[in-house]
Every structure is written in structure tokens, then in C-alpha cells.
Symmetry: C2
Subunit: 268 residues, 2 copies
Amino acid sequence: MKYVLPMLLLLCIGCKEQAQKETLAQFLTKGKFVDLSYSYSEQTLYWPNNPTGFKLDTQFNGITPGGYYYSSNAFFSPEHGGTHLDAPVHFAKGKWSTDEIPVEQLMGDAVVIDVSEKVINNADYQATVDDVLAWEKEHGQIPDGAIVLFKTGWGKYYPDAAKYLGTAEKGQEATAKLHFPSIHPDLASWLTKNRKIKAAGIDTPSVDYGQSKDFKTHQILYAENILGFENIAHLEELPATGAYIIALPMKIKGGTGGPLRIVAWLPQ
Amino acid sequence: MKYVLPMLLLLCIGCKEQAQKETLAQFLTKGKFVDLSYSYSEQTLYWPNNPTGFKLDTQFNGITPGGYYYSSNAFFSPEHGGTHLDAPVHFAKGKWSTDEIPVEQLMGDAVVIDVSEKVINNADYQATVDDVLAWEKEHGQIPDGAIVLFKTGWGKYYPDAAKYLGTAEKGQEATAKLHFPSIHPDLASWLTKNRKIKAAGIDTPSVDYGQSKDFKTHQILYAENILGFENIAHLEELPATGAYIIALPMKIKGGTGGPLRIVAWLPQ
């Protein structure tokens, strides 16, 4: 008995030491990453009034005079298409541009709110405060610093414009034909007043629904420097809680948004 | 005494439980992030033979007919400029393009090898096997899965082309005037044969030095699906060991590289 006590003390200390010394690389081996980003290509979806989408121009692809293989491209893209960031300045003058967003704002606990049953017969569905309260009843209050993601199931249509956007037509007039679900402005307002979130994201083209004319959800969230993540891929792979989001945008000086590489880490 | 034993057992179990239940968000509070990425702007540096660098076109910036503020841009960029990824296919036919790189390959323990004293009087310096062996003598062998970063101190010149590239001239002929340090092909070869690294990075424009004509370091590394990270910013903020790199590129389908948002996490 007189040896058990010191041994247990050593065990306790050892256990604490081990926890303190664990590296991030070691910690991450206890889970896996899921890529929530679509690739950029000529299939990438943009708002219908963009005259041009993503263009990749081959600069060189082949054997050089020096005898070795070489390939290189240049590209063009509007900031707002594919899996992308909305910087707050997109709808809120004076708020963060893409390059001004602190790195810590781009990472946080994922809160995944499933509204996929609500949108089945209603492409114009807007997620409500009640949807969030129902989620919280089951999973607890949205933690401070969370990244709140709305799962509509719309990703299964990407990149079929007719199904995903509601229209495959192009031009300003086509914007009236957009139909996809998103976040109701009343919920955006409630989130800014009652919860402390870093970003709101969705697996549809916009944080306002397709039929929005005034983009109120954008205006309300971005006025508070809350970020928008749009066209998120593979949201169906995330659980309601427990995932962690790392979302790093191309760092465009003065950007109003831009291509976003967003991944989730899932503990296993 | 008879109460001490059960209490210690509970403490031990509690301590282990706590360690197991720790979330990634909680783990990350034990350190801080450093952004190692330059912003994209008209100041962004590209290889001199690129006819055009980064261009940001304002699509709209002002009050809309609906009465709310709105701003949006489109942009153009060659894949290889600013803080960017070289995908292996840039110099190795059939190897990973940007979108094919597994997410896990983009993250790892940072090994930071300081060659800044070697380059002071030699802008054409190429890091050697001896530089790595000297680092290993002090810090131990480069761990499997590491991201090996060479710190030359060149970042202090960015974006002054004359100092950073060695010439501010443009066009194909200017490439002969490039002077900046990088990684010797012999070291690249040694790394592929003797260590298992995910990526090699540097705070200069290229993983081959400015005077390279055949880009052997590129060829050697990329043939083994090792990634290149170029024009890394703020490398002076990283310690020799202990930092963890998360480097997420814009996901360009078939890309030979592209804009890279690279951050380091430093335990504190």
C-alpha cells in the first residue's frame, strides 16, 4: 500500500504532462479532414449577371527547349462564385475587406443546422429562429465563436445551374428567376443580437434566398463583421456538432470576398 | 489514507478523461496563429516574363438603386506569383494538380532552417545538405510529414522587385538578371531519398535560385509529389521547431499551383 500512493501520484503527473506536451500534429491524428470546397473550373457557378465566370488560360504545357516538362496557367474569376468568402465590406461599407479579416475569425466550432426537410417542397425556404431554437434544444446553445452552417442538401445539384440556382439563364433579367433556400433576415438579426458567431455559411449560392431583392441577411450579418461562406460543398458529411472549421480565403487586398478553401476537422 | 487512494484514482481518471475530451478549439487556445501570406494587389510580384500580374477590377462599389451599399470585384492572376503553391504537375507531368492534392499533404510540422547568414553576401546562395545536417544536429532529424521551410530573410525586400527578385525589369530577357537564394538541387535530391517531407517552402520567389536555368530542384521535388510553397511571408516569426503549418490553396481544377493562404500555429 505504501508504494501505491506514490505510483498513482506519478501516474497523475505523467498523465497531465502528456496532455500538456501533445503537439497539434498529434492531436489532429485523432480525427480526419473533410474538404468542403468545390474546384474552380469552367463549371463553377456564378451569379447570372456576371458576364464571365472562371477562365483558366494555359501559359505553357509541354517540353521546354531545356528538355524538361513544364506547365503553367493564369486565371480570371469574379470574387463571388464557387465556394467563396463574402467579406463584410461586400455589403457593409467600412467593414473588413478580405485581407483585413483576422485569421482567428476564419476558424471555429461548426454548428450544422439541418433544414433539408424544410426545403424539399419549398426552394424559397428561409431558415428561421425556430430552426435554430430547435437545434439548440437538442444540442445546447450555439457556442461563442461558432461558425454556423445551414445544411439544405442543395449541394447535390451543384454544378447544375438550372437545379442549383433555379435558372441556367444568364444576364441581369435571370436574377429574378433564382430559386434556392437560405437564411431569413429575422434569423440573421436574432443571431447578431443573441449569439456571438464568427461566420454564417450555407450549401447554396447566397446567405439570402434566391428571391431576395434587398439582401437583408447580407446587410445585417456583415454590418457586425460576421463573415459569409457560400456554395459550401459536402455539408452532408458534417455532424450537427463536433466538427471544427478552418476556412482560408485567397488574401485579396481590398477584396470584397474571394475563393475560399474551407475544410472541416472531425474527431473520430 | 483509505480515502486518498480512491480520490487519486478519480483524479487520474478525470485527468485522462479531460485529455480525451479536449476539443480542437480548446487545444488551439494554447497557441496563436501567424499569417505567412502576402496580400494580392498590383504590388504582387510575378516572374518577369509574365505579361500581366494581379489585376483587380471593380464590378460595383457604391449605393445600389435599392438604397443599400454594395461592392464587388473580379480579378486576374497568373498561378505563380505572390504567396503561392507549386503543385507537382508544374514541373512533373502526371503528378498532382492543385485540386488533386490531399488536404493532409497541406498541413504538417514546420521545420525552419535558417540560412539567413549564408545569403548576406551571396544572393545566389543555395541551401545545402550540410545546412540541413547542421539543423538536425541541433534539433533532431526532420520528422516524417514535415513541411521544410528555408528562412533566408529575403522577405524584408518584398515587394521591391529590384531587391527581392534582383531586377525590376520585365520580359523574358530579365529572367537572366534574377538573383535570390534558394534550395540546391543536391539537397532536393537528398531530401527525397533520406527524409519524408510533404512540402518545401521558402521566403524567396522560387525553390530554385534566381540564376537557375534548368529548375532542377523543382523537377526533383515535384517528381516525388512534394509540394512547393514560394514567397512565404513573415518566416522570421517562426521558431526552428514547434510551429504547425496549415496551407490551403485556391482549389483550381487542373491547376499547376495557385494563390496559397498559409498560416502557422505556434504553441505558447
